[in-house]
């Protein structure tokens, strides 16, 4: 379970993949402390006021069944409470999972195939009715309906019978693998051990939905709130969203959401230049404004860096994400490990980092897993290319591989201006490989064409740019879809680009999944990454860094390593 962030970012709207949390930038802990020092962000946070959110993407799918979030999302998390949720703290501490509606992180059976949750007392919807475990079951079942597609695949893959279940509209009987023995208890029966189930339970699909209020695809217009805010206005298919306090929400049952502002006004459909311009001007209502989906681009960063006051209002964060070169060893000459290694040696990471926006927006990567403890980060650099590539070593390897006169290959990339799989990065690689005698032809595809081509086993090219992001901060959803042989998808999007089906790797993945001790699991993910890295099936290029502006009056900026972006539930404007 990991979020294919490249795709999601590009196709976000179309795919109903909610990037709000995942693809968004954030402010890191260091910065929030800096800002305490100077800007208007100082002082104790108090309740009251209106927080304005300036976004580019409208909340088109404001339905818990359709949202694809990492940890419940940012704005959605204000309305939708889930069984568990992410820990709302700065930095690494924020990468932990904590209980939300449930009293704890769940009780696993011995082999982690059955998970049992008990709901807290006094949980109510915005209309004052009580939240029951049956509503959570119904909410999950809804996400199986074709009408409400868009969520993450894990429930379908893990729950017994999930693969065939068609949702409550077609299949009134419901999903047997979810049991609700009483109104407070809910039991999940999985088809294999999954120690990371508590992470999955942070996703909005575990939000309770009262069956009587379900309006199918129309539910998104006014979803029933279980969180601190309820929807009072939803116009233009999520373009303008106004949230106000939900009187039936009890802070006593919710340790995570601070809910300082009285009102949240989300305005979307704005141009990213407008958002950053307004945030830097910070005039009027914009002083109490944040964005949950718009990063500073390189050009804007260059301007912001030159202005101390502005720089103090930039939040920096790290979301688990890796941009890399993917090889398909079924295509010649990439079947030859020496060729893959040669390319690994030849890449010029400083050029690539520059093309991705410079060292403030991208950090060179030599490991597939993001450089965070929660993922089990284990540093390694099997094919040291140095700062700007080791052309001599690459040439040597090519000679060994039987290409003494160099080699011509085609690099597939997308034509989007996303600083991730975009032409600039491809060109940077083209230049670097040229020095090692490798002639790179570029094949730039329009975004949809790119996704279809690259993530399809039938059309997958041998050499292309890809990226992968975390559905939650753990090695599981980050590593397995790329390297687990059982996750090679024959029809549909396939992310195991190397089409690696190594029994040893598969076995290790299964074993780690059984662990319910997450820190022990993390270590083994890291070791597995280092081992698989030796095969040079990918060339990690860089991890992006998110930088976002926020308004002068914004206080209590919290940026976790889970989302990498400012957590809206913690922000105060008074």
């Amino acid at each position: 379970m990991r979020q294919p962030s490249v795709i999601s970012r590009r196709v976000a709207a179309a795919a109903a993949v909610l990037v709000v949390a995942a693809g968004a930038a954030a402010c890191g802990p260091q910065d929030s402390k800096d800002s305490d020092g100077n800007s208007g962000a100082a002082g104790t946070p108090r309740k009251g006021g209106t927080l304005t959110v300036l976004n580019s993407k409208p909340q088109e799918d404001f339905d818990p069944a359709r949202l694809y979030t990492s940890g419940g999302g940012n704005v959605p998390s204000l309305v939708f409470r889930t069984l568990t949720t992410r820990n709302r703290e700065d930095g690494a501490a924020g990468a932990k999972v904590v209980p939300d509606l449930a009293t704890d992180l769940g009780t696993p059976s011995k082999n982690a195939t059955v998970w049992t949750y008990t709901l807290k007392d006094g949980l109510k919807y915005e209309d004052g009715t009580a939240i029951t475990s049956a509503d959570i079951k119904y909410g999950i079942e809804r996400s199986f309906a074709a009408e409400l597609s868009g969520g993450a695949p894990y429930l379908r893959d893990w729950l017994i019978g999930g693969a065939d279940y068609q949702g409550p509209y077609k299949d009134k009987k419901g999903l047997d693998s979810i049991e609700t023995p009483d109104a407070k208890t809910i039991v999940f029966h999985l088809n294999k051990p999954e120690g990371e189930f508590p992470f999955l339970a942070t996703q909005t699909q575990t939000t309770p939905v009262p069956k009587a209020k379900d309006k199918g695809t129309k539910y998104e217009e006014h979803p029933i709130s279980s969180g601190p805010y309820k929807v009072v206005r939803n116009e233009g298919d999520g373009e303008r969203l106004v949230l106000e306090r939900n009187p039936h929400w009890s802070a006593a049952t919710d340790e995570e959401r601070k809910a300082y502002p009285d009102r949240i006004d989300v305005r979307s459909g704005l141009d990213s230049a407008v958002i950053n311009q307004r945030l830097s001007a910070s005039q009027g209502a914009d002083a109490a404004a944040v964005t949950t989906d718009t990063n500073l681009g390189p050009a804007e960063l260059a301007k912001v860096t030159g202005d101390k006051k502005l720089a103090a209002r930039v939040g920096t964060g790290h979301f688990g994400y890796t941009n890399y070169i993917a090889f398909n060893p079924k295509v010649k000459p990439f079947d030859n490990p020496k060729v893959r290694q040669a390319i690994s040696y030849a890449v010029d990471r400083s050029s690539v980092v520059n093309a991705a926006g410079g060292s403030s927006l991208a950090e060179p990567a030599t490991t597939f897993l993001p450089d965070q403890k929660a993922f089990g980060y284990t540093p390694y650099d099997h094919f040291p290319a140095g700062k700007s590539g080791n052309a001599a070593k690459a040439e040597e390897l090519l000679k060994e591989a039987g290409y003494p006169k160099g080699l011509t290959v085609t690099l597939t990339h997308s034509n989007d201006k996303d600083f991730a799989t975009s032409p600039e990065i491809a060109t940077a690689l083209q230049e670097a490989l040229k020095r090692a005698g490798i002639t790179v032809k570029l094949q730039g595809l329009e975004s949809n064409d790119y996704s279809d081509t690259v993530y399809n086993v039938k059309s997958e090219p041998g050499f292309f740019l890809g990226g992968w992001g975390a559905d939650w901060p753990s090695g599981g959803p980050f590593f397995a879809p790329i390297f687990d042989g059982r996750q090679i998808v024959k029809a549909g999007y396939n992310f195991n680009s190397a089409q690696l089906n190594d029994p040893a790797v598969n076995k290790e993945i299964d074993e780690i999944n059984q662990l319910t001790d997450l820190s022990a699991a993390a270590k083994r993910w890291g070791a597995l990454d280092e081992k698989v890295g030796e095969q040079a099936l990918t060339v990690p290029l860089f991890h992006p860094v998110y930088k976002r502006l926020y308004g002068e009056a914004v206080k209590n900026v919290v940026i976790s390593d889970w989302t990498g972006v400012l957590d809206i539930s913690q922000v105060a404007v008074k």
Binding site: A273, L296, G297, P298, A299, E300, L301, A302, K303, T305, G306, D348, S350, S351, V353, N354, A355, G357, G358, S359, S360, L361, S388, N415, K417, P423, E424, T427, A428, Q430, E431, A432, L442, Q443, G444, L445, E446, D449
Partner: protein, 327 residues
């Protein structure tokens, strides 16, 4: 006003419309057109000699210079005015550090080449459709008019996207863009040619040719095409700069020329967020585009007035083109 009438009555024979001499004389008489012609010639020369010029500078349009940009602040070029120096005459591109002069001169090739090819295509299609509509019967004329309407109403964007989708990615992008612009931009010429054909068709010398026994094709070749040359050339010289703008617009919207091939529109598209941090990056292609289009437009005006001194009011052209790219 009265002058023309009186002069005619007084037997003042107008300078003949045919022959090359008066054309060149009149063109030379317009100083602005001359200056524009020199500028255009210079640009064409730059385009043709792009690798040579970049070679003289000692740079090429694709090499990255990571050391010339400030990586920590988003990749702004180091040094003043976008890193202008003896090695990099117009500075370097933010993020990549590629040489701007080399990119701009190579971009001239693409921008001018695409527009030229597109214009030729438009002329060919436009003249063909216009002639057939003008000469054909009512049904043919109506059918072609409707087709023209459809083409006019179809946004270039959609055609471009459709074409990008259908045509294999290996197909050279500049050629494809030229074809797309050519395919959507011929309606102006076809309308003019049709109108002129209808007007000419009713002229007695065309009737006389028919009575002489010529067929339609011969009449088109002998009586119509020569007479159409002037308006078509006049329109075409103004289409050319318009096509440069269309190419730039498509590239600007991200459906045109793709990197690493530099074109001015594509450079502008890359540069548009940099207006604060690295203005020269934006200004250089913008100014070049402006100068080129202006020079071509002035030259086109000159050619138009030289071809037909009284054309100014008769041929109201070059009016809707640019906005078509916008629509």
């Amino acid at each position: 006003m009265a002058e023309a009438l009186l002069a005619e009555e007084a037997g003042a024979v107008k300078a003949p419309a045919s022959g090359a001499h008066p054309f060149w004389r009149r063109l030379r008489a317009r100083r602005a057109a001359l200056v524009a012609a020199v500028v255009v010639a210079l640009l064409v020369l730059i385009a043709l000699a792009a690798p040579l010029l970049a070679g003289i500078e000692g740079q090429d349009p694709t090499t990255y210079h990571p050391d010339l940009v400030d990586s920590a602040t988003g990749g702004v070029p180091l040094g003043s005015f976008g890193g202008i120096s003896a090695e990099h005459w117009l500075g370097v591109e933010p993020l990549t550090g590629r040489d701007l002069f080399a990119r701009v001169v190579h971009g001239a090739r693409v921008s001018l080449g695409v527009a030229l090819a597109a214009t030729l295509l438009q002329v060919i299609i436009g003249v063909g459709v216009g002639l057939v509509a003008g000469l054909g019967n009512r049904f043919v004329d109506q059918a072609l008019s409707r087709v023209t309407d459809v083409v006019v109403a179809l946004p270039v964007m959609v055609i471009a996207l459709g074409a990008l989708a259908v045509v294999p990615t290996g197909f050279p992008r500049p050629v494809l863009i030229a074809v797309i612009i050519g395919l959507v931009g011929w309606s102006g010429i076809s309308k003019i040619v049709r109108a002129q054909t209808l007007a000419l068709k009713s002229l007695d010398h065309v009737s006389a040719a028919r009575l002489s026994g010529w067929g339609s094709w011969q009449i088109a070749k002998r009586e119509l095409l020569p007479a159409l040359a002037a308006p078509v050339i006049t329109y075409a010289v103004l289409l050319f700069p318009a096509d440069i703008v269309v190419e730039a617009a498509l590239s600007f919207l991200g459906v045109g020329i793709k990197p690493p091939t530099p074109s001015w529109g594509q450079m502008l598209s890359d540069a548009d967020t940099w207006y604060q941090a690295a203005p020269t990056y934006l200004l250089i292609p913008a100014l070049l585009l402006f100068v080129t289009v202006l020079a071509l437009t002035v030259l086109g005006e000159g050619v138009r007035t030289a071809l037909d001194p009284r054309a100014e009011s008769r041929l109201r052209i070059g009016t809707g083109r640019k906005k078509e790219a916008d629509a």
